[in-house]
């Protein structure tokens, strides 16, 4: 065993002296950490955007399917509901959330207590819900249509593909004074 030790020390010392192996500078790891944090933030915001966009699609279609109205819920309505589900977007949302999980899982404060995964996921859902409730109560529906006018390339493509002739939907700005979410739906339907 002593031979193995001495042998290893000799080999590694030679490599260090010949500059065959070098210590990575501290700055490398600081930059790596910064890039990782940036990716985590981007994945989080992307998940937030896609989640909100999915809810926008459901909101815009609700007057045609009456899905949330119990008295008219039937098989046809359910089929209509299935048609409007943006499957690819939901898949993309899961990809973003999974990417977020893979990015954070190696950090000590996350892997030691795995309940933090659940908290982060719940925080994401809560943020999406709070944003949507705020928008509907505030009636500032222009925020939902962020990117619709072509100011961002990928985002405006999503609007055109999924919302098509629903771009600038009528009725949003014509609604009477501040009303609750369910009353909004009744006004749109009438």
């Amino acid at each position: 065993m002593e031979n193995l030790k001495d042998d290893l020390i000799k080999k590694i010392n030679e490599k260090i002296k010949d500059n065959k192996i070098k210590m990575k500078p501290k700055f490398y790891f600081v930059l790596q950490g910064f890039l990782l944090m940036s990716f985590i933030l981007i994945m989080f915001l992307a998940s937030l955007y896609i989640g909100n966009f999915i809810l926008l699609i459901f909101h815009e279609h609700q007057e045609s399917i009456n899905f949330l109205r119990i008295d008219s819920f039937d098989f046809n309505n359910f089929l209509e509901f299935l048609k409007i589900i943006p499957g690819l977007l939901i898949l993309l949302l899961f990809v973003f959330i999974f990417s977020l999980y893979r990015l954070i899982k190696d950090h000590a404060f996350v892997y030691r207590k795995n309940i933090l995964y659940i908290i982060l996921f719940l925080f994401l859902i809560l943020t999406i819900v709070v944003i949507n409730i705020h928008i509907f109560l505030d009636r500032n529906f222009d925020r939902i249509r962020f990117g619709e006018k072509g100011e961002l390339p990928v985002v405006s493509y999503l609007h055109k593909y999924y919302r098509g002739n629903r771009l600038k939907p009528s009725g949003f700005k014509d609604l009477p004074n501040k009303s609750k979410v369910f009353r909004n739906r009744e006004v749109l339907n009438n």
Partner: protein
């Protein structure tokens, strides 16, 4: 490094030695090699039968350790960090040599629902020695998923927290796997009719 100076550095902790290496005293790295060669060799012995593979792996671990030494936070414990590097190298080699897909714990059922009460219990030294005595003879038969944790716990005397840092899994999952590992050991021993 001169032998007279070596004696002076024997009292330094691993973290203090690493701090000196980070400050530019590269020759102090041989102290780390000296301290961890036996431990890591014993660790790899439990996984790999090929001696050449073990020696190559040992060298790779120390090289990687040196290259990434500035990434180590000297406020933390050093041994889980170097064992983490050793674990990754061993897994990569086993994956390379294995003919079928190799996976430790990508979607372990306990990962999401870890047992809340699987906390560290203190086993007496005699109990641990007794388990270790039989463990050598049955280690090859234990599932790879529990094998590594059992090695770290019984042979390397790591705490649950240290094992969690080496394997990057929740502390509660470490407890769950140790309990399951012990059950598996008991089952194998019963099959072999050990008392």
């Amino acid at each position: 490094m001169e032998k007279e100076n070596q004696k002076a550095y024997l009292d330094l902790t691993d973290e203090e030695i690493v701090l000196l290496v980070q400050k530019g005293k590269k020759d102090h790295f041989e102290l780390i090699i000296g301290r961890y060669t036996d431990k890591l060799n014993r660790y790899f012995n439990k996984f790999l039968s090929n001696k050449e593979d073990q020696q190559d792996l040992l060298q790779d671990v120390f090289i990687k350790c040196f290259i990434n030494i500035n990434n180590f936070d000297t406020d933390q414990k050093f041994s889980p960090w170097i064992y983490r590097i050793a674990h990754n190298e061993a897994v990569n080699l086993l994956k390379k040599n294995s003919s079928r897909p190799f996976s430790f714990d990508i979607f372990d059922e306990a990962l999401s629902f870890a047992h809340p009460k699987a906390k560290e219990d203190s086993e007496s030294d005699s109990e641990k020695l007794l388990i270790k005595k039989y463990l050598d003879s049955i280690l090859e038969e234990i599932d790879i998923k529990y094998k590594e944790i059992i090695i770290l716990y019984f042979y390397e005397d790591f705490s649950y927290k240290d094992i969690s840092d080496v394997l990057k899994i929740p502390v509660s999952l470490v407890g769950v796997r140790i309990q399951r590992g012990k059950k598996e050991i008991k089952k194998i021993l019963e099959e072999k009719k050990f008392n």
